[in-house]
């Protein structure tokens, strides 16, 4: 077994237990063995975390690429993997393989493909996928166009107790679109879909979730109307949660001007009014999960005319720093951010993680919430296409501990 680790002098934050204060945390036998003021056990490896924050390792809910190096550099110890792999995770064997793909540095929790080949037509073997390790099912990059298929998916997944992760864009309205309808899309001559393509999909899926009793998670809610639909459904008792990525919190559709393909995302960036609305959604807790949407693309796929470029950005390494922007802006507290990045996704997907309670897995991130740096995609692990390239930010990961092992240090 690994030697015990004692992290001393840091501000220990655990939203699950309510812990927030300077304390020493002792890790032993790959679990959290103690938190408090006691002296570290003899022989323990001491990590001095004075002036730093100590929190449960981040859980990135909904990545498309399980890049372990990028994850660790970003303080992420678990990734919930979207089924949009090559081939799609519509087979239990593929799910089982994906589950082991990040160990030991990062644990990958796959979402099973909801439909065969993610085509939105026939249900995939989601019960067997669950037995193989899937923590939920997902519709993939696109919504399921056929309401009947979606209804059956929700009913069937509910029978297995699985969360359904949905992409909220009406398939017909967004067919061929690469931008949000508005002046910028018109000026650039980009095929665009109205922003309400999102709320239309959310309203349908929430109604179907209500009818089936299913648990629904909308991975990205990016518009004021979409958020209103989520709030209304929750008020009616629908078991629906919603997530967001930093891109939609900090960028609006102006970012695509000049045909910057790094800002080609799915769903597309929205106008300023919608951006401010989703900030409010974070403030009031309607958006409970912050994820990177990590989906890096190769140079060949991005150095294209805007509409021909692939959607997606590298996000794992900037998730924490950009999230800390919400704390600096006074939108949420630091424990509130840790909850969005770790505790809430763990709860939603039933992971034994996202907490520092005694006996919990020793997944820890230690970071300096104030350390300044400049985002530089060229220095990322793997592909570095990010619309935040060049942006000065603050918040650096110092140590990442996965299952009691230090897997990354600055």
């Amino acid at each position: 077994m690994t030697a015990p680790i004692a992290i001393t002098g840091g501000r220990v934050i655990c939203p699950a237990t309510g812990q927030d204060g300077i304390a020493t945390i002792v890790l032993k036998d790959r679990t959290v063995a103690g938190i408090g003021r006691a002296e570290p056990p003899s022989g323990a490896q001491i990590i001095d975390a004075s002036g730093l924050v100590v929190a449960p390792g981040l859980i990135d809910a909904g990545v498309f690429r399980a890049d372990t190096a990028a994850a660790n550099a970003g303080g992420i110890t678990r990734m919930i993997l979207m089924p949009d792999q090559s081939p799609p995770l519509d087979d239990p064997a593929l799910v089982a393989f994906a589950q082991g793909s990040g160990k030991p540095d990062v644990w990958v929790h796959p979402l099973a493909a909801a439909t065969r080949g993610l085509k939105g037509e026939e249900l995939a073997e989601i019960g067997l996928a669950q037995a193989a390790g899937a923590v939920g099912v997902a519709t993939g990059r696109r919504a399921i166009a056929d309401a009947r298929v979606m209804q059956r998916l929700l009913a069937y997944a509910h029978g297995h107790g699985l969360v359904v992760v949905a992409h909220a864009e009406d398939a017909a309205l967004t067919a061929g679109a690469v931008a949000t309808e508005g002046e910028y899309a018109t000026r650039l001559g980009l095929a665009a879909a109205p922003a309400f393509a999102e709320s239309l999909a959310i309203i349908r899926d929430c109604r179907l979730a209500q009818a089936t009793g299913a648990r629904l998670h909308i991975r990205q809610v990016t518009t004021a109307e979409g958020l209103a639909a989520v709030r209304a459904a929750r008020a009616q008792g629908v078991d629906v949660t919603a997530g967001i990525t930093p891109a939609h919190l900090f960028l609006n559709d102006m970012a695509v001007s000049g045909f910057r393909s790094f800002a080609r995302l799915s769903p597309p960036l929205r106008d300023e009014r919608d951006r401010l609305a989703v900030i409010d959604g974070v403030r009031d807790g309607s958006l409970s999960i912050l994820a990177s949407g990590h989906d890096p693309q190769s140079q060949e796929d991005k150095r294209q005319p805007f509409a021909d470029a692939r959607a997606g950005m590298a996000g794992a390494q900037t998730l924490l720093a950009l999230g800390l922007g919400l704390v600096r802006d006074g939108v949420i507290t630091l424990p509130g951010l840790i909850a969005m990045l770790s505790t809430n996704p763990a709860r939603r997907f039933g992971l034994v993680a996202g907490t520092l309670q005694l006996g919990a897995p020793a997944d820890i991130v230690v970071f300096d919430e104030h350390a300044p740096w400049r985002i530089d995609g060229d220095r990322f692990h793997g592909a570095g296409n990010t619309p935040f390239n060049g942006l000065p930010t603050a918040g650096r990961v110092k140590y990442v501990i996965k299952g009691g092992d230090v897997v990354w240090r600055a």
Partner: protein
């Protein structure tokens, strides 16, 4: 051939055209637009003369890289280059290795390695021409990219209007038809608004893009209202595949409500000028008799101005590399 500059800023010594490329109207100041129009005038005269040739661009290589089918624009750019004495080569869709899977940027680098002095590009994707311009060492002229811009078309339209009407400021210009998919409309909106025209967009609701307020363009879905008092009516081509139920129910229904007929045109100003970027769908968006009426229709003149405007653009954009005094 000294002319009085048509914009006060030019008389005050503003640099008439500090751009390396011509990617769109969006980047141009009003006086830069006026300068290009002023420059084009001399070529209108040359093109009407017997000789029709100068050696200004002798020894320079012009590549016309058209990744999307085109007849008239390609021909216009080719003639423009040849009348200025440039060595003009055309790269058409069928001859391009894009079909063989080469990326656009690899194609751009290949063209660049042949040391052209100017590249004229048409591409079906918005922004493609800008992308190429970032990777090559010579001036790039946008001959139409997706639904984004078609700057030389807007310039030739402006030249046509200016010669016929003597001005652009204050004119009511109605641009009618498939605005949603039209790069010609977008470039014209910006150019005409920059020069002080009152611009209207007339189209069925399914073919009107969002955010027209930002262009200072007034949108109309009623053709009669949109044409009321118009000094210039610019018709746009409606592609056949968009008429069979996708955006409008049928060609005949479209003509009934949005076709330019005598009755409808009577609502415009008495001396209205009718324009069309071509190719025309007679009986779909425009009555054939109106198109043929040379008193009102400027369709042929637009084609003529096209060559002159493109000569001006090729000349102006290559002045720096030709070492023309004041352009270093």
């Amino acid at each position: 051939m000294a002319r009085t500059p048509s914009h006060p800023a030019l008389a005050d010594g503003a640099h008439p055209f500090p751009h390396a490329h011509l990617l769109g109207i969006a980047a141009l100041k009003p006086w830069e637009i006026c300068f290009l129009l002023d420059e084009a005038e001399q070529w209108v005269e040359l093109n009407r003369s017997a000789a029709k040739h100068v050696d200004r661009l002798a020894g320079l290589t012009q590549i016309n890289a058209f990744f999307e089918n085109s007849t008239r624009t390609l021909l216009s750019f080719e003639i423009a280059g040849k009348r200025l004495g440039a060595d003009v080569v055309n790269l058409g869709v069928s001859g391009s290795s894009v079909k063989k899977g080469e990326t656009l940027l690899d194609t751009a680098l290949t063209l660049n390695a042949m040391h052209p002095d100017m590249i004229v590009i048409r591409h079906a994707s918005s922004g493609a021409v800008q992308l190429i311009s970032e990777k090559v060492d010579c001036p790039v002229l946008n001959a139409g990219d997706g639904r984004h811009e078609h700057p030389t078309q807007a310039l030739l339209d402006a030249l046509t209007i200016r010669r016929r009407k003597g001005r652009i400021a204050g004119l009511k210009v109605a641009i009618c038809g498939d605005i949603l998919h039209s790069r010609v409309a977008r470039s014209n909106f910006m150019l005409l608004a920059a020069l002080g025209a009152e611009v209207r967009a007339v189209a069925p609701p399914t073919l009107l893009p969002a955010g027209l307020d930002g262009y200072c363009v007034q949108a109309f879905t009623d053709m009669d209202a949109g044409l009321a008092g118009a000094d210039v009516v610019m018709m746009l081509r409606l592609q056949t595949e968009r008429m069979e139920g996708a955006y409008v129910p049928s060609p005949r229904e479209y003509f009934r409500f949005y076709g330019l007929t005598e009755a409808r045109l009577a609502r415009a100003a008495a001396d209205v000028l009718v324009m069309h970027p071509g190719p025309m769908n007679r009986g779909v968006e425009i009555d054939g008799a109106i198109a043929d009426d040379i008193a009102r229709s400027a369709v042929s003149e637009q084609v003529e101005m096209g060559v002159a405007v493109r000569m001006a653009c090729l000349d102006v954009l290559t002045r720096r590399r030709r070492g023309v005094e004041g352009w270093a």
